[in-house]
Amino acid sequence: MPSPATYEQRRQTAGLFLLAPSIVVLLAILGYPIVESLLLAFQKVQLAAGGIDRQFVGLANFQRLVADETFRRALLNTLYFAAAEVVLVVLIAFAIALLLNHPFGRAGLFRILLVVPWAIAPVANAVLWKWILNANYGVLNGLLQSLGIIDVYQVWLGTPVSALNFLLLVDVWKSVPFVALLLLAGLQRVPSVLYKAAYMDGASRLQTLMHVTLPSMRAAIAVAVVLQTIWSLRIFDLVFVLTRGGPADATVLLNFLAYRVTFNFLDIGYGAAIANVIFVMTILLAILYIRLVRPAGEAAR
């Protein structure tokens, strides 16, 4: 008994059928909290007996943001941090993916080693790095001194620029594995016939990389960049353990500030406003990246 739907109609129907469960799950779990947090950003929220007191205050929270020096500092820190992290993570991860895709790097051991930094519980990871970077008994100081690179122990987390960049380093270390895994998956779908063709055409390795590998990996790179941007703008645990935003707010990043305002100051409305700034920033950056990296063909679709 043939059904009256054509191939395309069937595919579309099946598509809606396959998509629906995910959408339902996401809406059911995240729909209310997301809408609620958007609303909270326009409210003054105070703890009161039995719960919270909410009062609609329009744009007051956002006006406060404009005048908030810590917020401005956090915004600049975050922009620097996110930009630097995305670039570093994608470059390092790409290099690692190339290495692991090379016949020398095919050993399974390398792939297992790859995931370990990412698999360490973030709490333990942050505490580990806190010890490594300690100004008095940290092994990094000890190592660099014994190699003759530094004369005296350095307070890595003591000055604004240094502290922020060490946070960056640790987060890059932790973030590279997944992006490398993603790019490795991308590398593995570049048909070897393309490499063979490039070889036959006499393309140099660099040319092959630029004209064969990279274009074939556009999708994987786009995913990596967008996801890493989301994660970089959300970094929190490292700041919480390593520096607590210090010294003197030098390493306050937006998400940590949102946390501090929400959970330490219990200024829930203001915290929601900061969180929404991150939300909007992330969306804008994501759209930008998606447009930049999207293959020409898809743009026309």
Binding site: R10, Q12, A14, G15, F17, L18, L19, S22, I23, L26, I29, L30, Y32, P33, S37, F104, G105, G108, R111, L113, V115, V116, P117, W118, A119, I120, A121, P122, V123, A124, V127, L128, W131, I132, N136, Y137, V139, G142, Q145, S146, W173, F178, L182, L184, A185, R189, P191, S192, A222, V223, V226, I230, R234, A258, G271, N276, F279, T282, I283, A286
Partner: protein
Amino acid sequence: MSYAHHRRGGFSLRLLTGAGLVLFVIWSAAPILWLALSSVLEQRALIARPPDLSPQNLTLSNFITVIGSAAALGRGMLNSLIVALFATLASLALGAPAAYALARLSVPRASAIAFLVLATQMLPSIAIAIPLFLVISRLGLIDNLFSLGVVYLSFNLPIVIWILRNFFLGIPDGLEKAAAIDGAGVIGTFWHIVLPISLPPLGAAAVFAFVEAWNEFFFALILTRQSAQTVPLVIAAFAGQYQTVFGQMMAAALISVVPVILLAVLFRDWIVRGFADGMMKG
């Protein structure tokens, strides 16, 4: 020069690759090595300057204590395993079909939907913590592994969809058409053709979902009490207000990473195998 030979490269490239791999190993392993050392040394050796690695400071007491307190760590790991397996399997089971639909099944406004799905992950989790807690506590599901797993599912699902969708977009049309001609329906095509040729991204997505759920801290903190505590909370318990029991924390961290490594070993083949050859774009 044969092509296989060319793949390996000339002397300088092989040297560069070798050096790169050495660097990669140092970069990945050195901090881990220090973690491992920290777990088997007395704390007084670690705060010495330089760290005192002499054998009399070696101790297994951290591991003995941590394993001795198996009630907490063991239960934490079991909880984490249940939650992470649920979140992983569910996010793949829901996410892969959704990604396929958004990539290839002419769902109207697929790009916009995909972006909205991802946008749910752009709001920092801190912002949704309180409303989410409110809902879950009204449902009486605080300190419940299922509710924690479902929350992780909602965090992993968008990322899984996004990763897989972009890979599915690159599958040549011909394969699906061939499958249709061969008599496979949409679901059959997805199951027999699309999934098997997408093992590397599926492997990456699975490892991602598992690790994220295994290690998630913030929601585990607010959504559990005692019985549903996951392993990151158990590890965090070694860091108190006045003292961090560093060696035990590192020992616990090391133990807790074993399942993830086992997973990586298990999925290694998925991560390695690619079917790019023979599916040139039509």
